[in-house]
């Protein structure tokens, strides 16, 4: 029995219409805008001017640098921690559900809300510095020093996302055959060796998947620096996403802001491709 061809189309019409207007059109339009500039309030074609401007733009370079510093430090630390926690939880006999809930709870909090919590905890006289002093360490200028401000962002993001990644790893660990661990253990490998020689290689595809997700997320980073550090001190935590927002909605330079948007698009495509290539090479 054949269904009429218009049936699937009817089911698809709302999605196609909304997608065309609110997704496809903006993506194309913003590509066109990236070649335009505003002259007396009118957008006119400017060729590659905006793209050329990128190269001489000191703030763009700072934003690019900050974004990559955060990416290169935060993602590996977070994913490694998530792997360790998942292994521990996998090995634990008691209170697993309780730990699972505790670790996952940060992943349900709104980005703005947790950024505010961290900002207050990390202020000069905040509770984190009081704790550091209580255990005999020096207090840290979390929000007023360029590098510590980056560290503050990294700390907060790691808190927010580690549990999320941990749950993904934990689920994947259920599928690692127990026999691999037994074999390793017969060969005299201790728990820590097993973590590096069995768990990590077995989870490689999942690790790739989470690396790509985190990379995409970090390249778009906006909510956290906007709230937690407000991009400062003196642009030390300005990300490409924030620079785009400032260019577009504070200076209303829509052309150049669209160019910045396409920088993010290209970076996401290139880095995802690269990560696939690198991990794909040895056949997994």
């Amino acid at each position: 029995m054949r269904t009429k061809t218009y049936v699937p189309l009817l089911f698809l019409t709302p999605a196609i219409a909304l997608f065309a207007v609110f997704t496809v059109f903006p993506i194309v339009y913003s590509f066109l805008l990236s070649f335009q500039t505003s002259v007396g309030g009118e957008m006119v074609f400017a060729g590659l001017d905006n793209y050329r401007r990128l190269f001489g733009d000191q703030i763009f370079r700072t934003a690019l640098f900050n974004t990559f510093v955060i990416l290169v430090i935060q993602v590996p630390i977070m994913l490694f921690l998530a792997l360790v926690l998942a292994s521990l939880l996998h090995a634990a006999k008691r209170a697993r559900a309780l730990f699972r809930v505790s670790f996952f709870m940060p992943a349900v909090t709104s980005l703005v809300a947790y950024s505010i919590i961290f900002s207050i905890m990390l202020m000069g006289d905040g509770v984190v510095n009081q704790f550091l002093q209580a255990v005999g360490l020096k207090s840290v200028p979390w929000l007023s020093h360029p590098w510590w401000a980056k560290a503050a962002l990294i700390l907060a993001m790691t808190w927010r996302w580690t549990g999320y990644n941990m749950i993904i790893y934990l689920a994947a660990m259920q599928n690692i055959p127990e026999s691999l661990y037994e074999a390793a253990s017969m060969d005299g490998a201790g728990k820590i060796r097993q973590f590096f020689t069995v768990t990590i290689p077995q989870l490689k595809p999942v690790i790739l998947f989470t690396t790509i997700l985190s990379t995409i997320g970090t390249l778009q980073l906006f909510d956290e620096p906007y709230t937690l550090t407000k991009g400062g001190p003196s642009d030390a935590t300005l990300t490409i996403g924030m620079y785009l927002y400032q260019t577009g909605f504070r200076y209303f330079d829509f052309g150049y802001a669209s160019t910045l948007a396409y920088v993010i698009v290209v970076l996401i495509a290139a880095l995802s491709f690269l990560q696939f290539k690198i991990t794909g090479r040895d056949g997994t």
């Binding site: 903006p26 670790f103 505010i116 704790f131």
Partner: protein, 275 residues
């Protein structure tokens, strides 16, 4: 258990407990700050117990930002968005999963590829569009972008692939209409997938920040994240107030999460994990 195993189990649980404490402390701290006076967040020695000023802080929050209206905005936008998007995406997922038609795979690929494009690459045209239609600062402007959410379409399609064709054929032979087939035969078997997708969409919109920051221009139209962020951007910040707002934005979600853990986890991970 041998002694060695016991020691290692103890170590595992001790490390997990430290991790859990780090995970949970910021929530506890938010509650402390939300229930005390503003200055108490920097008290020495630190205030480590909840106070009794929550209601007062919420009242102050209401005076400074109109938290009632803000909560209403967030709830309205999020619930209409979730209902609308879930319907649109479920229908689309159904079409992609259970029908053959020309251009299907190409069209599905277009949806998938668009997932790689960040919202940043849409925000300026969307702003210009809304401005041209005079829709800035309206509910429709807050709700409509991303109703056709490619990832939700993808999720529903993956789940609907499992519906056996035989059941649908039997329904057609019995004279069930196409719409009846979808609503009475397919949807009832999709409850867990629908719940997970709904939670995914809900959380996306509840936390959404960049777009409402751009599209909501007066306090009356602020959503929770925008209102909190604007309050936190003032030169004189009342921390008790801000944290009361943070607690209002986070608390209900955590309660939902604790009640519906499984759905929540699979919803937020969006099918990244099959449990």
């Amino acid at each position: 258990m041998t002694l060695k195993r016991r020691i290692s189990q103890f170590g595992v649980h001790a490390l997990l407990a430290i991790g859990a404490a780090v995970s949970l402390f910021p929530f506890y701290w938010a509650v402390i700050a939300a229930t005390n006076e503003s200055g108490k967040v920097f008290a020495k020695p630190p205030q480590l117990l909840p106070g009794s000023r929550f209601v007062e802080n919420v009242v102050n929050l209401h005076h400074s930002i109109g938290i009632g209206r803000v909560l209403f905005n967030s709830l309205l936008v999020v619930s209409v968005y979730t209902a609308l998007s879930l319907s649109v995406c479920t229908m689309a997922g159904y079409a992609f999963a259970k029908f053959r038609f020309r251009g299907r795979d190409a069209l599905f690929a277009v949806f998938l590829v668009s997932m790689m494009v960040p919202f940043h690459a849409m925000v300026i045209p969307l702003f210009k569009m809304m401005a041209a239609w005079d829709w800035l600062n309206t509910y429709q402007a807050l709700i409509l972008p991303n109703v056709a959410y490619p990832f939700a379409i993808f999720l529903m399609r993956q789940n609907m692939l499992a519906v056996p064709d035989a059941i649908m054929e039997a329904g057609r032979i019995d004279g069930v209409s196409e719409w009846g087939l979808f609503t009475r035969i397919v949807l009832p078997s999709m409850r867990p997938a629908l719940a997970a997708t709904a939670i995914y969409l809900f959380m996306y919109q509840w936390n959404n920040f960049l777009w409402p920051l751009v599209a909501a221009q007066t306090k009356e139209m602020y959503t929770l994240p925008v209102a909190l962020s604007s309050l936190f951007g003032l030169s004189r910040i009342d921390y008790g107030q801000v944290m009361a707002g943070v607690t209002l934005a986070t608390g209900p979600i955590i309660v939902f999460f604790l009640l519906l853990q499984r759905h929540f986890i699979s919803g937020i991970l969006g099918g990244a994990v099959k449990e």
